[in-house]
């Protein structure tokens, strides 16, 4: 079986990066070989179908966005039925509702009273689809169809004035959505530029 240790050694050991990665080559060596962990290998192969059904996560490049589509008008109906009870009609927050509000705050981040919402704060629209599909409605997660998720995402984006009211949101158009705070983040992880 191929071993990480060999590959790391092969690729990087002589490279200038050796100093940086040396730490984890060593860590790996002790993780794998010394305690004999590699002697046990009990994982069972996974089929593409099982993976596809389980894989809920969507990266900002749109990988894994499903088929389907929705409009703000369709989303408004879903929202009224399944979301407004906790987020308020049109996503406007009032006392007693879930925080943060889903709407507003655009342009407030530098102010004395910054309001972080999907509209004002989130860097990628893909995150909205990913999160609503996996976690909302809070009392019935994973209950929405992909069309409903597209529609309700479209509705939240249009309430924030980020897309037009007649926009159709699907795997392609969601990627074109420009979130107002897209460049508002600074990565603290070395080597990753946001």
């Amino acid at each position: 079986m191929f071993s990480f240790k060999e590959i790391f050694a092969d690729r990087w050991y002589t490279a200038a990066a050796a100093a940086i990665f040396g730490g984890f080559i060593l860590a790996f060596a002790s993780g794998g070989s010394q305690d004999g962990a590699q002697a046990v290998s009990l994982g069972k192969p996974l089929s593409e179908e099982v993976i596809a059904a389980a894989d809920l996560s969507i990266t900002p490049d749109g990988t894994n966005l499903p088929a389907g589509s929705g409009t703000p008008a369709q989303g408004k109906i879903v929202f009224a039925k399944k979301c407004a009870v906790c987020h308020g009609p049109e996503g406007k927050w009032r006392e007693g509702l879930a925080k943060p509000p889903l709407v507003g705050g655009i342009g407030t981040l530098k102010s004395d009273k910054p309001v972080q919402t999907v509209g004002s704060f989130w860097p990628y629209a893909t995150t909205l689809f990913d999160y609503v599909r996996r976690a909302m409605p809070l009392n019935a997660p994973l209950s929405l169809s992909d069309d409903e998720v597209y529609a309700v995402s479209a509705y939240i984006l249009s309430l924030n004035g980020i897309i037009k009211e007649n926009a159709v949101i699907d795997a392609k158009s969601l990627l074109k959505v420009e979130m107002p705070n897209r460049s508002g983040f600074v990565s603290r992880w070395p080597g990753h530029t946001h």
């Binding site: 990480f4 894989d55 976690a135 809070l138 994973l142 080597g191 990753h192």
Partner: protein, 432 residues
């Protein structure tokens, strides 16, 4: 003695710094006095017991039971549960470790802090599957039964919620008067035992060029976070045991990730899936939630290591002084960067500082207990502690911390905690 300002009064050789901080040898002296007075009273332990007539020595005790529980007299020692959304979302919130009632450095399993985002799932381990897929040669799934057969490693480490100490963050302009467990109880420590994540990644033949993983929980929030491959290959554990017993449901039963030193939210509980990727996923919790807005409106993203930090736990808010005299100041220090090297204590509001004694063993990236004797003269004063870790990291004042983040910002607050001791024996949280 360190950093004594010219203002401070001259100290006798008993004192380590201002405000009544004592050298350790002061303890030996008062100890001698105590032993002498007991001998003078001429009491033996046996006589004292007989005079007291403890009724529990005169009748049979309770029958043995299969699982030990705390004494009913310790009922008050429990986690404070805070639900930010109230009944709208009663599975979304925090339960804080009652630091004011605990000593030592390992948190009892039932008192380990908890941050859950949509309730605690009751997972049947026989039905739980953990999968690794994405940029791997062989996507694999592991049953709990099979994971229990792998060679296991243990690590003693703290887990700290990025939102710990939010009462002292920019969410509040005035210091809240709550017990120290409310202030800093989103940190706990345990011995975690399980399989190295690197072992399982190697078995799948994960692509070494892939720089990121996505880890996902099997809870109703589908909690998901991106994790750098470098960390995954270094020291991440797929943990099955917590302090020797299987992980509690609140902590991720049947399995969770443990990333020593990294913010709590990344230690994904109820772990069900890892996807190997060449980019971060930018999940809701690493964008909307665990990011830190700066004064200029930009936000820090992917701040993983929990900084050097400490708090005095005795005396602290939630406790009361019993009049002037000698006390042991005791507290907890930690750093996600490595081992705690020194802890300094001030008993005069930061004018002078002295090194506290660190209890062994000092585990890297775990809770370290520090202590120091202190003679309280009954006058108002302010106690503080600050950690210096092995990399030289230390803690800012609350004022400095506050200025480096935007309004309302709460995560990654490692400001110095200040407790004012009042003449009436009450203890107050103060912002300095």
């Amino acid at each position: 003695m360190r950093n004594t300002t010219p203002k401070a009064a001259p100290l006798s050789d008993e004192f380590a710094a201002g405000g009544g901080l004592l050298h350790r040898r002061a303890f030996l002296r008062s100890g001698t006095v105590l032993a002498t007075s007991m001998a003078a009273a001429g009491l033996t332990m046996r006589e004292a017991v007989a005079a007291d007539g403890p009724e529990w020595m005169t009748k049979q005790g309770a029958p043995l039971r299969p699982y030990g529980m705390p004494s009913p007299f310790e009922k008050h020692v429990e986690r404070a549960v805070l639900l930010p959304f109230g009944p709208v979302a009663d599975g979304t919130g925090v339960a804080l470790t009652p630091l004011q009632h605990l000593r030592g450095t390992i948190t009892p399993n039932g008192l380990h802090f908890e941050r859950s985002h949509n309730g605690v799932p009751q997972i049947d381990p026989a039905k739980h599957r953990f999968m690794i897929h994405g940029m791997v040669k062989n996507p694999l799934e592991f049953s709990i039964e099979s994971l229990l057969r792998y060679p296991m490693v243990s690590t003693v480490c703290f887990i700290e919620c990025a939102g710990n100490s939010f009462f002292n963050s920019n969410l509040f302009s005035k210091a809240m008067q709550v017990p120290v467990g409310h202030l800093h109880g989103l940190v706990s420590a345990a011995e975690w035992t399980g399989v190295r994540l690197s072992t399982l990644l190697e078995e799948t033949g994960a692509d070494v060029d892939a720089k990121w993983l996505l880890a996902e929980g099997a809870d109703a929030a589908g909690m998901s976070r991106s994790i750098p491959m470098e960390k995954a290959l270094d020291d991440v554990i797929v943990a099955l045991y917590q302090n020797g017993e299987r992980i509690r449901p609140e902590q991720g039963y049947p399995m969770r990730l443990v990333l020593p030193g990294y913010e709590g939210n990344m230690n994904v509980k109820w772990l069900r899936r890892i996807k190997v990727l060449n980019q971060p996923t930018y999940t809701k919790d690493e964008t909307s939630k665990y990011t830190d807005r700066r004064p200029n409106g930009k936000s820090n993203l992917f701040t993983y290591t929990m900084d050097a930090k400490s708090t005095i736990t005795h005396p602290a808010t939630g406790l009361k002084m019993q009049g002037p005299g000698v006390y042991e100041i005791s507290g907890l220090a930690w750093s996600g960067h490595g081992a705690v090297k020194r802890v300094e204590i001030s008993a005069d509001g930061g004018n002078s500082w002295a090194d506290a004694h660190l209890e062994e063993p000092v585990h890297s990236r775990s809770l370290t207990r520090f202590r120091m004797l202190w003679n309280w003269d009954g006058k108002p004063t302010t106690l503080q502690s600050r950690t210096i870790d092995e990399k030289g990291n230390t803690q800012p004042t609350r004022a400095k911390w506050s200025r480096s983040y935007g309004p309302g910002q709460l995560n990654h607050c490692n400001a110095i905690q200040s407790f004012t001791i009042n003449p009436d024996g009450s203890i107050a949280n103060v912002f300095i």
